[in-house]
């Protein structure tokens, strides 16, 4: 038990060290004035903050909506919606993420909010699909036993279906989380901020120290968040 948590803490701290240490070193040791101007402490911290906010807000919204609709389309009364809804979201998912951002920029204008909304829409799929699959995967005889003993549909959802589907739902959340961190690097194209800004600027001025800083931060953030979610997943299932 203690060993398990020690190990988890150890790996989390290593990933966190990369996420903080690598940009720190580059900010402190810029190769030339262009890098020094583009890679300020405030700028890097702001980009990281924006990125984490893009990820967190869009993922939280996707969990609420994805799990909510996922539950809804497993209810007998709304089950007819399942193929329709899953197909719509499936088609949405096949559109490249940059295109999704561009489309919503056309509708909602530029900026952070549009980026959050587009990424949120983009990440619903895996959560919705896994919630649906997880609940539908509960063995029918278990449900019948619950029903036969006098549990109400709501109580069955709460005490039987959701707990048994939780592992599958969490797997969907993890997928969505990885998708989100990646999609958030594109937010910069519609003035949504995030670590993509450092990468794109670095590429524009052709300074590898700069775009590598953004890239390594985005990569280590994705791995770190996924690792943290894997701990949550292991603890709930």
């Amino acid at each position: 038990m203690l060993k398990k948590w020690g190990q988890r803490l150890f790996f989390s701290l290593i990933l966190l060290a990369v996420f903080i240490g690598y940009p720190w070193y580059n900010v402190m040791n810029p190769a030339d004035r262009t890098v020094a101007r583009g890679l300020t402490p405030d700028g890097v911290i702001l980009a990281a903050q924006q990125h984490i906010t893009l990820w967190g807000v869009s993922l939280a919204a996707a969990i609420v909506v994805g799990v909510g609709f996922g539950i809804l389309i497993t209810r007998p009364r709304f089950r007819f919606l399942a193929p329709i809804l899953v197909n719509i979201v499936n088609i949405g998912q096949t559109v490249p993420s940059l295109a999704v951002l561009a489309i919503f920029m056309g509708i909602l204008g530029m900026g952070f909010r549009t980026a959050v909304f587009a990424i949120f829409l983009y990440s619903i799929l895996s959560i919705l699909r896994n919630t649906y699959a997880g609940i539908m995967g509960v063995a029918p005889d278990i449900l019948e036993a619950a029903r036969g003993m006098g549990m109400s549909p709501f109580r069955i959802l709460l005490r039987i279906e959701l707990p048994l589907a939780l592992a599958v739902i969490m797997a969907g959340v993890r997928t969505a989380s990885v998708v989100n961190v990646g999609a958030a690097t594109l937010a910069t194209f519609i003035a949504g901020g995030g670590l993509g800004t450092i990468i794109v600027t670095g590429l524009a001025v052709m300074r590898d120290q700069m775009f590598l800083t953004g890239a390594v931060m985005a990569a280590s953030l994705a791995v770190l968040l996924d690792y943290l979610l894997s701990i949550v997943e292991a603890e709930v299932s």
């Binding site: 005889d141 278990i142 019948e144 036993a145 619950a146 036969g148 003993m149 549990m151």
Partner: protein, 367 residues
């Protein structure tokens, strides 16, 4: 206690009815076994009682109340329900599984905990060991015991059991059946029991309802069903020689010989020799000071070298219990190729023995 009045179930309009105009009355304390081939409507009938399936026509009364007028959730909370093998919630501990209905009824925690302990004792599982385990850590027989404990949790007057012992090996099944009969003797519930196994029906039922193609063919006590089967279908189910089926009705304690030849392991071999010569079945039982069965000695063992009985005795293999039917005891004998069965209580103490001859005599008494 339970009355079915002209109950019909048609699943899809135009289909043949799954249950046709069924009339049946189950008295309080009865175990009514619904038996018949698959598709005969027995499970549908049972599930209409707790409204897992709604009847197309007719009325069902439980305890005088028209079930169609009762909230189905409330109705089901008052009817225990066991289904085959699983149906245990895999993500919950044994204690939580058993506590399902009491928790739905919002019992206080301490009362639930007390009840869980009591029920685990009742089904013969140590609460200290099993309370926190998950269903996957249990054997099939133990899981089934938990299923029984769970349906009894809120002490409902009526139990519905759908092939509760179906997925078990024959020896475990016989043991659980005996245990359940013992429990039922104390709790006296009104039980509707579904099975496709006529032998199980004869053993467990106080009344047997033979069903075929949605219709009730015969509803009688096991004795009457065996002696006066109503038609060819029932004869086909119970078999021509009903005296053989009666082995399921008679219990070991009706014919047991309670004065078995016994020795202690400390005694000299010469003592066992005398007893063996006097013995009808050619076996002498070795017991300790508490009458606990330690072994058996058969004539062939006398050729072994040794001075004390303990040195030449064998493992006792052919054992059964007093609650077992003659059929159970006979199959133990056949499995081991012996003409006797040793009868022990739950603490392995020797109660006596029965022989193949006694079973044959019992058969002739009934013929």
């Amino acid at each position: 206690m339970i009355t079915l009045e002209n109950v019909t179930k048609i699943y899809n309009p135009g289909d043949a009815p799954a249950v046709k105009d069924l009339k049946m009355e189950i008295e309080e304390g009865d175990t009514a076994v619904l038996v018949g081939p698959s598709g005969c409507g027995k499970t549908t009938t049972m599930k209409m009682i707790n409204r897992l399936i709604e009847p197309t026509e007719g009325t069902i009364y439980v305890n005088g109340e028209d079930t169609s007028k009762v909230n189905p959730i409330r109705l089901r909370l008052n009817i225990g329900y066991v289904i085959q093998e699983i149906g245990l919630f895999p993500h919950m501990s044994i204690a939580e599984n058993i506590a399902t209905v009491p928790r739905e009824l919002k019992w206080p925690k301490s009362k639930i905990q007390e009840r869980v302990e009591e029920l685990l004792h009742m089904v013969g599982l140590d609460p200290e060991i099993f309370r926190e385990r998950k269903p996957r850590d249990l054997s099939g027989g133990q899981r089934q015991r938990i299923g029984v404990a769970r349906c009894l949790a809120a002490d409902p007057p009526v139990l519905l059991m759908d092939e509760p012992f179906g997925a078990l090996d024959p020896i475990t099944r016989a043991r659980l059946q005996n245990e359940f009969l013992r429990i039922q003797e104390q709790i006296r519930k009104t039980i509707v029991f579904v099975t496709h196994d006529i032998d199980e029906a004869i053993k467990m039922g106080t009344k047997i309802a033979v069903m075929n193609e949605g219709e009730l063919v015969q509803y009688d006590t096991p004795e009457d069903l065996l002696s006066t089967p109503k038609n060819e279908f029932v004869v086909g189910m119970v078999g021509g020689n009903y005296s053989i089926k009666r082995l399921h009705l008679k219990r070991v304690n009706e014919i047991i010989d309670r004065e078995p030849p016994t020795v202690s392991a400390e005694e000299p071999v010469s003592k066992v020799k005398e007893l063996l010569e006097a013995s009808k079945v050619g076996v002498v039982m070795v017991v300790d000071g508490n009458n606990r069965l330690e072994g058996v000695v058969i004539p062939a063992d006398l050729k072994k070298s040794g001075e004390r009985v303990g040195e030449i005795m064998n493992e006792p293999k052919v054992t059964s219990d007093v609650g077992a039917t003659l059929n159970d005891a006979l199959s133990v004998m056949l499995t081991n190729g012996e003409g006797y069965a040793l009868i022990t209580d739950e603490n392995e103490r020797l109660e006596g023995y029965i022989t193949l001859n006694q079973i044959m005599e019992a058969l002739q008494d009934n013929a």
